[in-house]
């Protein structure tokens, strides 16, 4: 047994691999970490603490390698954040939380309800705008998403708002026409303000398994992602797939969502997250 400081035999390695798999790191990343363990410790005497420490550090390094500087708006222009992701992951709620963070730091915020498809999506975001003391721009159900985004950015510039956050409808990365709609929203923002969007966030649900890697690939390919938000970490799922995403696509996690209330958001801490993955 590992805790008696014996060697890393195949039984011990299998058990460690299962811990990594259980946290949704995926087979590929788990195997990579196990290979690293073998290389580092061979079959020499090793304690559980040493293994944990090694893995936590390796995971932290993989996450940190993807980290980038915080994003700012151009001087005299609003910081424009566009939020995308598949259905039900927590985009709209996350925007409410981000809005509160910015307003608490003294910035003026506009929220754009560019989800013109789903029932009560505009109403939902409007409530988050009220709760976070942000302004709100919405459109008609069935209207053009890109038009709402454009109008909101226009308003943000006219009112010298500090931040514009654009909510988009959930969509599967496999729906070509819907992905094209997102590309159009991004392009239209850039037409009105060349630096926009400054931040393009993909929201990922921590309950999601390997499909999150697929999601990240396709959204990144279509839009160029600058960061991830990992939601629902208050559940029992660990969200290890972000390690695979960091390794393959070098996309950093910006924030984690930890509940349904407006304050349930934290900046990503790779060291804390790595330790949490190992349970």
């Amino acid at each position: 047994a590992l805790d008696r400081g014996t060697g890393l035999d195949s039984a011990a390695l299998d058990s460690i691999e299962e811990t990594l798999i259980a946290a949704d790191l995926g087979v590929e990343t788990a195997m990579h970490l196990i290979a690293g363990l073998r290389e580092r410790f061979g079959s020499g005497a090793t304690t559980e603490d040493e293994v944990r420490e090694f893995l936590a550090l390796e995971i932290e390094r993989a996450l940190q390698a993807a980290e980038t500087e915080g994003v700012q708006g151009e001087p005299g222009a609003p910081l424009v954040v566009m939020v995308a992701g598949v259905n039900g992951v927590g985009k709209t709620t996350t925007i409410g939380k981000l809005s509160r963070l910015h307003v608490d730091e003294g910035r003026s915020v506009i929220l754009a309800a560019a989800d013109t498809f789903r029932a009560a999506a505009t109403e939902q975001l409007s409530i988050w705008a009220d709760r976070s003391d942000a302004h709100f721009v919405g459109g008609q159900l069935g209207g053009d998403a890109a038009a709402v985004a454009y109008d909101a950015l226009d308003a943000a510039i006219a009112r010298s708002a500090d931040v514009l956050i654009v909510d988009t409808a959930g969509r599967l990365h496999t729906q070509k026409n819907l992905m094209q709609e997102l590309v159009k929203v991004k392009r239209v923002l850039g037409k009105r303000l060349p630096s926009a969007p400054n931040e393009l966030l993909l929201v990922i649900d921590a309950n999601t398994g390997q499909n999150a890697l697929s999601q990240a690939r396709m959204f990144d390919e279509a839009l160029g992602l600058t960061g991830l938000v990992l939601t629902k970490l208050d559940g029992t799922a660990r969200g290890g797939i972000v390690v695979a995403i960091a390794r393959e696509l070098a996309i950093p996690v910006r924030f984690v969502g930890t509940g349904e209330a407006i304050d349930d958001i934290e900046p990503f801490d790779s060291s804390e997250f790595a330790k949490g993955l190992l349970g």
Binding site: E18, I21, A22, A23, D24, G26, V27, V86, N87, G88, V89, G90, F117, R118, A119, A120, E123, Q124, S126, I127, W128, L141, L172, H173, T174, D205, N207, T208, G209, Q210, N211, A212, S214, K232, D234, G235, T236, A237, R238, I241, E260
Partner: protein, 292 residues
């Protein structure tokens, strides 16, 4: 593809055309890997591989002219069997208004499914009432009311700040009084580890005595599906599951985890955002999808 991986697993290791247990072990490793990549929980995958191994040995796969093909057949059959069980048809008893209670984690697709189910039942001659018992999520009542409006199905909306248990009870009373025969109860998304919210579901069940409690599970759920499924089964003894967002490209191993851990039938598949995007669950098709 699993079949290609099996080709290489059953390529003779001795180069003299003789196969051994080692070939089976290699093939089983490939099965395990395929299942893990498809998000089947690692413990469930382990158990499943054991069952496949027993069958492979029992059926003398090593003596087959096409061992790879025979293994594929065993794996597919075992997986389809695990996913299927008895295909419980979804029947609502006639008489007093029957309650169908819809539960699950946040964002899994419950509200959308409630509307889809209303449409499905109405096509089969039922008169459903949608009940909006989610008092937590901003504009949740609005969302269900809008969907009901699109279908022309009545929606019972609670008063602001009302208690979900109270809303469920008054919805049932409304159905009785207006001669509607099914109440589809939409509840708020919640965590299986949130004690207060889980006991709220107990109270809703107690107050409405549902004929069906359906767990709505996102088909892209990963390893944690076992925890969600077993907790909801333990607390509520749900009668069936709905797997949503199957129109995506997720392999859907969460279905295997759910079945292995709870034995509950998967009754429906959500295959899109539109209100007609609802299908019966097909174990055989799902098995093919999971094996990639």
């Amino acid at each position: 593809q699993l079949s290609e991986r099996f080709q290489s697993a059953f390529r003779s290791l001795t180069g003299r055309g003789r196969l051994s247990e080692a070939n089976i072990e290699e093939a089983l490793r490939e099965v395990r890997r395929a299942l893990l990549e498809a998000d089947v929980n690692f413990k469930v995958a382990r158990g499943f591989v054991e069952d496949v191994k027993a069958r492979a040995i029992g059926e003398d796969v090593l003596k087959s002219v096409t061992p790879g093909q025979q293994m594929i057949k065993i794996v597919h059959e075992e997986l389809a069997a695990l996913l299927g069980g008895r295909a419980d048809t979804f029947r609502i008893p006639s008489g007093a208004p029957a309650v169908v209670m819809v539960v699950g984690l946040q964002g899994s697709g419950k509200t959308t499914f409630c509307a889809k189910l209303a449409s499905y039942l109405r096509q089969r001659g039922k008169s459903p009432l949608l009940a909006a018992a989610d008092t937590y999520r901003p504009a949740a009542q609005d969302q269900l009311a809008t969907l009901g409006g699109q279908l022309g199905v009545p929606v019972h909306v609670g008063e602001a700040g009302a208690d979900p248990v109270g809303i469920a009870s008054t919805a049932l009373r409304e159905a009785r009084e207006t001669g509607l025969d099914v109440v589809i109860l939409d509840t708020a998304g919640r965590l299986h580890v949130d004690e207060d919210m889980m006991s709220e579901l107990d109270r809703i069940r107690e107050a409405t005595k549902p004929v069906e409690i359906l767990l709505v599970l996102d088909s892209m759920t990963g390893q944690d599906a076992v925890n969600v499924a077993s907790e909801f089964a333990g607390r509520l003894d749900f009668s069936g599951a709905v797997l949503t967002k199957l129109d995506g490209d997720t392999r859907g191993g969460a279905a295997v985890s759910l079945r292995a851990v709870t034995g509950k039938p998967i009754k429906f598949a959500g295959v899109g955002e539109k209100l007609d995007a609802l299908e019966m669950f097909h174990p055989d098709r799902m098995a093919s999808r999971i094996l990639g």
